[in-house]
């Protein structure tokens, strides 16, 4: 039950994008079309899952036993960067259609703060192995959800008469604010 709560909390109540402001760059950059938003969300969820597993192992099996926790940031970001590269190579070899859908989004994921944020939060909250994995899945689902909703709204926005000075980034922020407001309704549920 508590795993379910953890998943639900990461995906909805404490949504990574709308309440922690993690992964805002792709949230603004790749949310113009629903189809690309879904692909990006899948790619991020996939990398998050692997990151959760690998960074947990590195932190608890390497950094803690050797007492070099100070290398946390350097090692995490290096691991994430090389993981993304590996995942990209792997997908290209294994499945061409999947690579065509996710391919261009993978390199962008390295600098997605949601990934590093996930690793840092797992350490900060002292999650166990399975908890980290569930947390990663939940965060990925939440990211996908926010991205897809945003893309849906922005597809509609193209036809809406947006005031001149709000066009582009301005209205995107206002819409994100309204979305965050809606998600606040879930606060206090857990």
């Amino acid at each position: 039950m508590s795993y379910f709560l953890l998943f639900f909390s990461a995906a909805i109540v404490n949504n990574f994008v709308l309440s922690y402001f993690l992964g805002i760059c792709p949230f603004v950059g790749v949310s113009k079309k629903v189809s690309s938003a879904v692909s990006m969300g899948m790619a991020v969820t996939f990398v998050m899952l692997i990151t959760a597993v690998v960074t947990w192992l590195i932190y608890h099996l390497l950094l803690v036993p050797f007492e070099v926790e100070i290398l946390e940031y350097v090692s995490f970001i290096l691991v994430i960067a090389s993981l993304v590269q590996l995942v990209e190579m792997f997908i290209r070899k294994v499945s061409k259609p999947l690579y065509d859908t996710l391919g261009i989004y993978l390199p962008l994921i390295t600098t997605n703060c949601a990934i590093l944020g996930l690793a840092l939060f797992s350490v900060l909250r002292d999650y166990g192995f399975i908890e980290s994995v569930v947390f990663g899945l939940g965060a990925g689902a939440g990211f996908t959800l926010a991205l897809v909703i945003m893309a849906g709204i922005r597809e509609e926005l193209e036809l809406a008469p947006v005031p001149k000075y709000f066009q582009g980034a301005g209205i995107t922020m206002i819409v994100a604010g309204a979305l965050a407001l809606a998600f606040m309704g879930f606060a206090g549920m857990i």
Binding site: L18, S19, Y20, F21, L22, G23, I24, C25, V28, I70, L71, E72, Y73, V74, I77, L78, A81, S82, T110, T111, N112, C113, I115, L116, G117, L120, F121, L124, P163, K164, Y165, F166, A169, G170, I171, T172, M173, I174, A176, G177, A178, A180, L181, M184
Partner: protein, 203 residues
């Protein structure tokens, strides 16, 4: 590169015309996350500027040594090192700020503003020029963070830098210090900047 651009222009551009947040939408995560009070915005801005300036210094000095193929990884390691320094420094001397900002200090590593400047500027220009550029960008970033933090703090808690400025009659708008307030304020600020640029251009 364009050696003809005077240093002053290189410095000024980061403040407004190519402001990292308002004009290029870089580094949005910390911008939105920590600006529920002016002080947090200032601390975050200073920490980011420190990392930006030090990394620019290091990377512009090493730009001919770092192999082109692995430059991104090299940049990230350098940035992460300075972030660790900033994080330890804050934890040692300003434990309260460090606790408030929490994981957002380590997240400076993936601030696209920093990596963006290294890739676009420091890896192609000399030390002096890169320093000027990164200082300008850092100041522009601090400016936006403090402005955003001040607006949100005044409306959300009735104070600025912790000093109460609103009278008893004022009923704080809780929403401003919560996540939605961050998005709404930044959206309005961007619209205001667009309007100002337009007004300047026409008059």
């Amino acid at each position: 590169m364009s050696k003809t651009v005077p240093l002053k222009t290189e410095f000024i551009k980061g403040l407004w015309k190519e402001n990292p947040v308002i004009a290029s939408l870089l580094g949005l995560c910390p911008t939105l996350a920590v600006t529920n009070a002016a002080m947090n915005g200032l601390a975050m801005g200073l920490a980011t500027t420190f990392v930006l300036v030090m990394s620019s210094l290091m990377i512009s000095a090493l730009r001919k040594v770092i192999p082109h193929q692995v430059r991104i990884a090299g940049f990230i390691v350098i940035i992460a090192t300075f972030v660790t320094v900033a994080d330890r420094f804050l934890a040692a001397f300003f434990p309260e700020i460090s606790a408030t900002l929490g994981p957002y200090i380590p997240l400076i590593v993936v601030n696209c503003l920093i990596l963006g400047r290294q890739e676009a500027f420091s890896s192609r220009n000399g030390i002096g020029r890169s320093l000027v550029d990164s200082f300008g960008m850092g100041l522009g970033f601090i400016f936006v963070l403090v402005a955003l933090g001040s607006v949100r703090e005044v409306l959300g808690s009735g104070s600025i830098f912790g000093i109460t400025v609103m009278g008893d009659w004022f009923n704080p708008w809780m929403i401003m210090i919560l996540p939605p307030g961050a998005f709404l304020t930044l959206g309005l600020m961007i619209a205001l900047a667009n309007w100002y640029n337009d007004w300047r251009a026409t008059s």
